[in-house]
Symmetry: C2
Subunit: 340 residues, 2 copies
C-alpha cells in the first residue's frame, strides 16, 4: 500500500462520530479525548483484540463484520456489568495486503456497531503491520455508582438464566468454514452465518437486570456457556447445575446440527461469541424478571440452579441429565484449533 493510501486510512480513523458536548469535552484532533461521565455514574472500561488467522479469516468474516464484531464484543463486556457503552478507542494495525477499500469497510462496520449502541469513536491509533491485521478496541461505558453486576455474588438456591439463544455463532462459524466463500451459503442457512458475523450485545437485558436488583452475577457468552458458568462458579464459590433440556437453541441451529450429525449442545457450551448474558437471580424474583424480559421481547430462559458445594471451596459445574449429575469441563472455544 502506498503512503498516500495509508494516509487515507488515518482519515477514516479520525472520521469520528464524536462531537464535543454531551459529556465529551475534547474529541479527536488532540493527543487524547476528554469526557465526563454522567452524574452518579461510574466509568466501565474494557478492551478486546481481534487478530486475523486467530479470530477470523477473510473466509469467515467480511471486513465490515470484523469492525462490527470488535466493537460488539466490548459493548457486550459492558452489558455484562449492567452498564451501557459510550465511547470507543480503535487501534488498528494494517498489513500491506489489505486494500484501502477493505480498511474503509472495517471502519464502516465499526461505525455501524457504534451507531446501533450509541457509541462514539473518540480516539485510537492507526499503524502498519507486517503480516496479519490486528484490531484492538477499548470501550468506555457507564454504570450507576456501586451498582455494577459482578460474577462473584451467586448464592445457593438462586436460579441460573440465559438471555436469547446460544450456540448460534459457533454453528455459523462451522458453516462458514465449510464454504468456498460467504456468497456460496445456501439460503436456508444464511441466518446462521449472520449469527456468527453480526451478533448483538444484550445491553437492554443487562439494564433490566441491573434495575431489578435481583441479579447476583452476570457474564456474557463470549467463550461458551461452560466457560462463563465456570467463571461464575469460581468467583462466587458455588456449585452450578444446568438442565441441558432448557438450553435455548434456535431451530435452524438444531436443523444444521442434525444435518451434519452433531450435538448442538457442544456449540452452546463450547462455542461462544453469542454475546448473550448468563447469570444468577434470586429465585423469588424470577417470574417478575421474566415478565419484564417478555415485555421487552427479549428471550429469557431458566437453565439451572445454584447448589451448595459438595465439598467446601470446590466450585463445580454439572449437567443434570435424567437425574444424574455429569461434570462439565471448562475447556473453552479455540478458533481454528489454535490458542485464542
Amino acid at each position: 500500500m502506498a503512503h498516500d493510501e495509508f494516509s487515507l486510512i488515518r482519515q477514516w480513523t479520525s472520521r469520528s462520530n464524536g462531537q464535543e458536548g454531551d459529556g465529551l469535552t475534547v474529541g479527536l484532533g488532540d493527543d487524547a479525548a476528554v469526557f465526563t461521565p454522567a452524574p452518579e455514574m461510574e466509568v466501565v472500561a474494557c478492551c478486546d483484540a481481534m487478530v486475523e488467522t486467530i479470530h477470523f479469516l477473510k473466509k469467515t468474516m467480511n471486513p465490515s463484520d470484523i469492525g462490527y464484531k470488535a466493537v460488539m464484543s466490548n459493548v457486550s463486556d459492558v452489558a455484562a456489568m449492567g452498564g451501557y457503552a459510550r465511547y470507543a478507542l480503535v487501534s488498528i494495525a494494517v498489513p500491506p495486503q489489505w486494500t484501502p477499500k477493505e480498511c474503509q469497510q472495517i471502519y464502516d462496520g465499526i461505525y455501524h456497531a457504534c451507531e446501533l449502541y450509541g457509541v462514539r469513536v473518540i480516539g485510537g491509533d492507526t499503524v502498519s503491520a507486517p503480516d496479519a491485521l490486528h484490531l484492538s478496541v477499548t470501550v468506555l461505558g457507564e454504570v450507576e455508582k456501586g451498582r455494577a453486576i459482578r460474577r462473584s455474588q451467586a448464592a445457593v438456591g438462586q436460579i441460573v438464566f440465559v438471555t436469547g439463544h446460544v450456540g448460534s455463532s459457533a454453528a455459523g462459524l462451522h458453516l462458514l468454514l465449510q464454504q468456498q466463500d460467504a456468497g456460496s451459503i445456501p439460503p436456508e442457512w444464511r441466518e446462521l452465518a449472520c449469527a456468527h458475523q453480526r451478533p448483538q450485545a444484550q445491553v437492554m437485558a443487562g439494564r433490566l437486570l441491573l434495575a431489578s436488583k435481583a441479579c447476583s452475577s452476570l457474564n456474557d457468552v463470549s467463550d461458551g456457556l461452560a466457560s462463563e458458568l465456570w467463571e461464575i462458579a469460581e468467583a462466587s464459590q458455588v456449585a452450578i447445575t444446568v438442565d441441558p433440556q432448557q438450553i435455548p437453541i434456535r431451530e435452524d441451529v438444531r436443523a444444521y446440527a442434525s444435518h451434519i450429525n452433531k450435538d448442538p449442545l457442544d456449540w452452546a457450551f463450547y462455542g461462544g461469541e453469542d454475546y448473550q448474558l448468563v447469570g444468577t437471580l434470586e429465585a423469588s424474583r424470577v417470574d417478575e424478571v421474566a415478565k419484564q424480559f417478555a415485555a421487552n421481547d427479549i428471550p429469557f430462559s431458566v437453565i439451572g440452579r445454584v447448589e451448595a458445594q459438595a465439598q467446601a471451596k470446590v466450585p463445580s459445574l454439572s449437567l443434570l441429565r435424567e437425574g444424574v449429575q455429569i461434570p462439565l469441563p471448562k475447556a473453552g472455544f479455540n478458533h481454528f484449533g489454535q490458542r485464542g
Copy 2:
C-alpha cells in the same frame, strides 16, 4: 508455545497492580473494570499501538523496554493535555516465537512504567498472533474539568517552548541500529540507547503548565518537533518560527552526531519519541513559568515565536537562520523507512 505456557501469559496480564478503592470499584476478574474519576476531574483517554518490525526490532528494544515504552507513549499523550495518568488497559498479541520469559519481561516493563507514573493496569486482552508481536495500550487519566490544554489556542505574539532535550531518542535509535546487539554499545554512548529505550513522559511539566493558566497550546514530541509544531500551527491557524540555535540538544547527542557526520537538528525535528512537551505560552508569563520549571529541575527552553500568518488561513512553520526564514516541511519520522 504450548497451551499451558500461553495460560501463563494470561496470568501476567491479570497481575494487576489495581486494588479496589481509590476510585477503582471493580478491578480485574470481571468483564470490565469500573472506576470513578476524582471530584471536579474529567477522564482523559488515549490509545497507542506498537508493532514488531514497524515500531521496534528485538535489536533496538529489550522486551521490558517495549512494555515500558507502550505505557510511556500514552502517559505522554495524557501529559500533553495537562493531565495525569491513572489506569491502563493492555492488549497484547503474542506470536509463537516469543518465549514466555520474554512476555514476562514485556509485562515487567509495563508495570515498571506504571509504577513510575502511578498507573494501575485494570484490564486488557491476551491473544495469540501469527507473526509479529503487537502491543496496544489504552491509558485513562484525569484532568481538571474544562481545563485540558489543546493544540488550537496558540496566538500571535506568544513564545514557543520545549521541555527537556530533543533528538536524543532518534540518536539512540541510530546507534542501536548500527550495533549487533544492545550489549555491544560502547560505554560512552550508553545514555543514548537509554534515551530511545526508556524516555520519560513529562507529566510534572504538563501539570505546571496547566496550573500556570498561561499555556495556550501543547503537544508531546512523539513524531519530532517539526510534526508537533505543524499540528499546533494548523490547529491554531498561526505561523510559527523557530530559532535553531535554541533547540535543546544534549552534549552526547551532539558528540555522536559529529562522530557520524550528521546534523543533530535532523533528529530534533524529524526524530521523535522524546516525549518532551512543546507548546506556546503568553510572552508576559515566560519568566515566571521558567522559574517554576527551574524550581522543579525541569529543563525549559524558549525556541521560537508565534507570528501573524503571511497569508490568511495559511499556517506555517519556519526556521529563522541568520535573519532568513527557511520553511520547515512537516514530514515526520518513519521507523526503519516504513509507514509508521
